[in-house]
Symmetry: C2
Subunit: 210 residues, 2 copies
Amino acid sequence: MDTADLLERSYPGRRAELKRDIFHKALSLFNEQGIEATTIEMIRAECDTSVGAIYHHFGNKEGLVAALFFTALEDQARLRDAYLDAADTTEKGVQALVFSYVDWVEQQPQWARFQYHARFAVTKGPFKDELAERNKTRNLRLRQWLTQSGRAAELQDLPAELLPSLIIGQADSYCRAWLAGRVKGSPSAYREVLAQAAWRSIRAEGLAEN
Amino acid sequence: MDTADLLERSYPGRRAELKRDIFHKALSLFNEQGIEATTIEMIRAECDTSVGAIYHHFGNKEGLVAALFFTALEDQARLRDAYLDAADTTEKGVQALVFSYVDWVEQQPQWARFQYHARFAVTKGPFKDELAERNKTRNLRLRQWLTQSGRAAELQDLPAELLPSLIIGQADSYCRAWLAGRVKGSPSAYREVLAQAAWRSIRAEGLAEN
DNA sequence: TCCGTTACAGAATAATGTTCTGTAACGGAA
DNA sequence: TTCCGTTACAGAACATTATTCTGTAACGGA
C-alpha cells in the first residue's frame, strides 16, 4: 500500500497514466523542494512530458496542488470511515479515529506531509469553495458519529467544537513531528498510547475505569 | 499587545522603522493572499517603498518569510518561558505550557497563523540550519523542565518523544481550527479545559485526583 | 568636515508561470 | 472501415514576478 496504489485507486485506467505520473512526481518534488520552490519545468522534466500536458490536466500549478490535496483528503477519509464502521462503542470510536489517522499517515507519509503543507494554499486559493463543498460530504460519516445520541453521557461535558481537537490533536501533533523528522518512533507504534490519551482526556469520570 | 508591540519589542529604534513596516504589511499580505500569491510588488506598494529597500533588508522573499517566522517563534517562546518560570508543580507546568500557547495565539493571531503556514518553507529552504540552531537555544528552558528529575513519577510511563505532543497537541489543533475559522470559541476561552485534558491524558493514575 | 557604512530608489535582467496554436491519438457513430 | 468530435499532448510565444545591479542620499563616528 503505497503512493502508486493510492493513485491506481483514485485515478484508474490506462488513459490516466500520465496524469498519475504527474501526480506522483509532483508530489515528490513538492515534498522535497517545497511547493513554491518546485517549478513547472522541474515537473515537466521529471515526467518527460510538456508543459501543455500538465496545464491540460490541471489548469495551473494551483490546480495541481489542489488536486493532490483533494486526493489525499479523500483517501484518508476512506480509511477513517472504514474504521469507524467497525466501532461499536464510544471508546472504540475514539480509538478508530486515532488509529485510522496514524495508520494512514504511516501508510502514506508522502501524501500526509503534502496535505499538511498545502492546506493553507488551498484554503485561500480559488478552490476554497470546492474544498468546503467536499468537506461537507466527505465528513458526513464522522459528523454522524460525533452527534450520535447517547454519546454525551459517556463523555465529559465539553463544548462540541472542542471535541475533534481533543480526540485527534495529540495524534496529529505527533504525526507532524514524525514527518518532520523531529522524532523517531513511528506513529502507529504509539497508536494505543495515543488512543488511550485521547480517551482519558474526554471520557466521563467513572469510578472503575482503567 | 498587538502586532506593532511585538515589532517594537523585536526591532526597536527609529532606524528600523521601514523594516518594521515591511514586516507588518508583509505579514498581513501573506496571511490574506497566501505566501506564494503575495508578490514583492504588492509589498512594495503597500509600504510605499522600493524593491531595492526590501531586498536590502531581507535578501529575498524567502529571507523575509524566514525573518517573520523567526520573530514569531522567539516571541512565542518568550511568553512560554515566562509562564514556565512561575510554575512550581508538574501539573502547573503542563498548565503553563497550554496557557502560554493559547494565550499567545490569541494575542498574536496574525503571527500565529503565519507561523503555521511558513514552517514548511523555512524547514526546507536555505534557513533550515539557522532554524535548527535557534531551536536549540530557544527551547533550552522547555527541555530543562521536561527532563527535570522526579517528573516521571507524576506521569504515566510514556515515551519521552511523545510528551510534547501529548501536552500541546490538543491546544495546537484547536488553535489551528480557530485561526482557520472552523470554530468560534476563542482558544483562551477554553484554556482550562484544554489544560485539564492534557493533564488527564498524561498524569499517573492516582486514586483521589479530580 | 571627511569618509566609510547603511539605507533606499528604480531601471534592467532573469526566472518562472501561463496561454495559445497546432498535431496526434482516441473512441463511438454511421 | 471511415468519419468526426473529443481528449491528450507538444512546444514556442507571452506575461508575470523575483532578483540583480548601479547609482544616490542619509547617517554617524573620527
